[in-house]
């Protein structure tokens, strides 16, 4: 299957054809893949070289000049390394931009910590005004990229090498109710992006509501409140492909008047210092189907 990153290159190239306000900004990564688009649209695919501070500075400047820039590299180099530029050159200047990462938490498992950024969403959470999309399939990635390009404001699209088998219909900003638990259900499980498949496998024989999120910021509190009212218990399990606990606060703010417990599953904070494959890292973080089954069942009781 085509990867989300490949779909991003194809979609962005298509968008460059259609919308003269768009420009793509790179820091060497994916530059080769963008070469055809760069040739077709001189000046609109800007590769600044291995200069991540400039990547974001140029993105801010393009926005100040009236364009809609799409900046891209791995999340560690897009969000973490130039974080002050994200804070000041985008947020403080009050401009809109689209940041698209590929690599997620452990796609590049054998590369080690320097190329892994499970903390990216949590870091952006310290800033105001960010929409964050976490697609679970290349089709979803394309839909969310198109929505981001057409929107105003600051949008982060977090692409991943892991993918669900089938795409869901995406309504940007809204959780999908994949399964409604019975009135006696133990609670709600919110699966984010590529973790939908292992989550569904994990809860196949549990009486729970399952929500699917491809937009995590803003957090669709309204849908969570709606489904929480339908079940006996309002306990919530989050299954996030980035740092565990990232969205716990969002759940609490969605259910301030409803007694509930929260189990925030995701990537651990401790550096594993292991290589191998993404599947091995998922297992190590307890995010494969069997570990999810064990942890969710133990929590919901």
């Amino acid at each position: 299957m085509e990867t989300m990153r490949e779909r991003f290159v194809a979609t962005a190239s298509d968008l460059l054809d259609a919308d003269p306000r768009l420009a793509v900004v790179l820091a060497d990564i994916s530059a080769e893949q963008f070469a055809p688009a760069a040739a077709k649209h001189p000046g609109r695919v800007i590769n600044v070289g291995i200069r991540e501070q400039l990547l974001i500075g140029v993105t801010g400047g393009l926005a100040l000049a009236g364009l809609r820039p799409i900046a891209h590299t791995f999340p560690s180099f897009l969000v973490e390394r130039p974080f002050e530029q994200v804070k000041l050159d985008l947020g403080h200047q009050d401009v809109g931009a689209v940041l698209v990462s590929s690599g997620a938490s452990y796609d590049m498992a054998s590369m080690g910590r320097t190329h892994q950024a499970p903390g990216d969403v949590a870091l952006l959470d310290t800033l105001d005004g960010w929409t964050v999309h976490v697609p679970g399939h290349p089709d979803e990635a394309e839909a969310l990229l198109r929505a981001a390009a057409a929107a105003q404001g600051r949008v982060y699209v977090r692409l991943s090498g892991e993918s669900n088998r089938e795409p869901q219909v995406v309504r940007p900003g809204r959780f999908a109710i994949v399964r409604q638990g019975s009135a006696d259900a133990a609670g709600t499980v919110v699966a984010i992006g590529p973790l939908l498949d292992p989550t569904l496998e994990a809860v196949a024989d549990l009486d729970v509501t399952v929500l699917y999120a491809t937009t995590v910021r803003p957090f669709d509190a309204a849908t969570l409140r709606l489904v929480a009212r339908r079940t006996a218990k309002a306990d919530v399990v989050l299954v996030e492909p980035y740092l565990a606990g990232t969205s716990d606060r969002e759940v609490n703010e969605a259910l301030p008047d409803v007694p509930h417990r929260v189990l925030g599953l995701g990537v651990g904070r401790e550096e594993l210092r292991r290589y191998g494959t993404p599947a091995e890292h998922a297992a190590a973080h307890g995010l494969d189907a069997s570990a999810l089954r064990r942890r969710i069942a133990a929590f919901l009781g």
Partner: protein
């Protein structure tokens, strides 16, 4: 904030229209702003360059602070902005009365400028090393929009050049031949470890043209800003009295 927009204001083709204020008024205007005395020297170091830019070089108009064809001036050296605010007041972008509230809770005039609060201010600054990268993006964006006339000026300090982000911008701008880009560097010898070989060489090595001039000589500054070449960004190093 005063912003007397008329219908269909003219696109800026020259420096701002004459106002009642001249260079001689700037000290008095600056004296209205108290509370940031730590940066008095930083403020006065920029005074003459700012005046020459706004009085003789920048094609901007306070009646149309958002005109697409305007020149862009980005104050990257954002601390001690009293000279900047004084010049903006003298040129009609802000009202003199605003200067008295400098730094107070409700004032739009902070000890570092905010582009969201002040008409005519292109970027918020205060953390050093951000203006040049933003300027590179602005220059690229204007070119993509087919706006070939506007020039993009950035004012920096010699100590500010310590920040590595500047050098990312300098190298890329030279490689890309961004000839709408103009950097003005105030050199008051405040960089802790200095610049061996001088500041101009940092730009020249990356393909910029440069001029190094007395930062208090208005005619020399005007000529230095004009001494550009097609296909190359341009830097003016304005030397003033050492900070210490």
């Amino acid at each position: 904030m005063t912003n007397t927009m008329q219908t269909a204001p003219p696109p800026p083709t020259a420096p701002p229209p004459m106002t009642a204020y001249g260079y001689a008024d700037l000290r008095r205007l600056m004296a209205l702003m108290t509370g940031d005395e730590k940066h008095d020297v930083a403020a006065t170091s920029t005074l003459d360059v700012l005046w020459v830019l706004y009085d003789r070089v920048l094609r901007v108009d306070p009646r149309a602070p958002e005109a697409p064809e305007r020149d862009r001036f980005l104050l990257s050296k954002g601390h001690g902005p009293m000279a900047y605010y004084a010049v903006l007041a003298a040129k009609g972008f802000i009202d003199e009365d605003l200067l008295r509230g400098f730094g107070s809770f409700d004032s739009p005039l902070g000890h570092h400028p905010d582009r969201v609060l002040i008409p005519g201010v292109e970027i918020g600054s205060g953390s050093l090393g951000h203006g040049l990268g933003l300027a590179v993006g602005t220059a690229l964006g204007l070119r993509l929009r087919g706006l070939d006339r506007p020039q993009v000026f950035t004012l920096l300090g010699d100590a500010e050049l310590d920040e590595g982000s500047n050098h990312e911008a300098i190298a890329y701008a030279g490689a890309a031949g961004l000839d709408s880009l103009r950097a003005a560097v105030i050199d008051n010898a405040s960089a802790t470890h200095g610049w061996s070989g001088g500041i101009a060489t940092r730009f020249e090595r990356e393909g910029w043209t440069t001029r190094t001039v007395d930062g208090r000589d208005h005619d020399a500054l005007e000529a230095a800003f004009a001494d550009t070449r097609p296909g190359r960004p341009h830097a003016v190093i304005a030397v003033v009295e050492p900070k210490n």
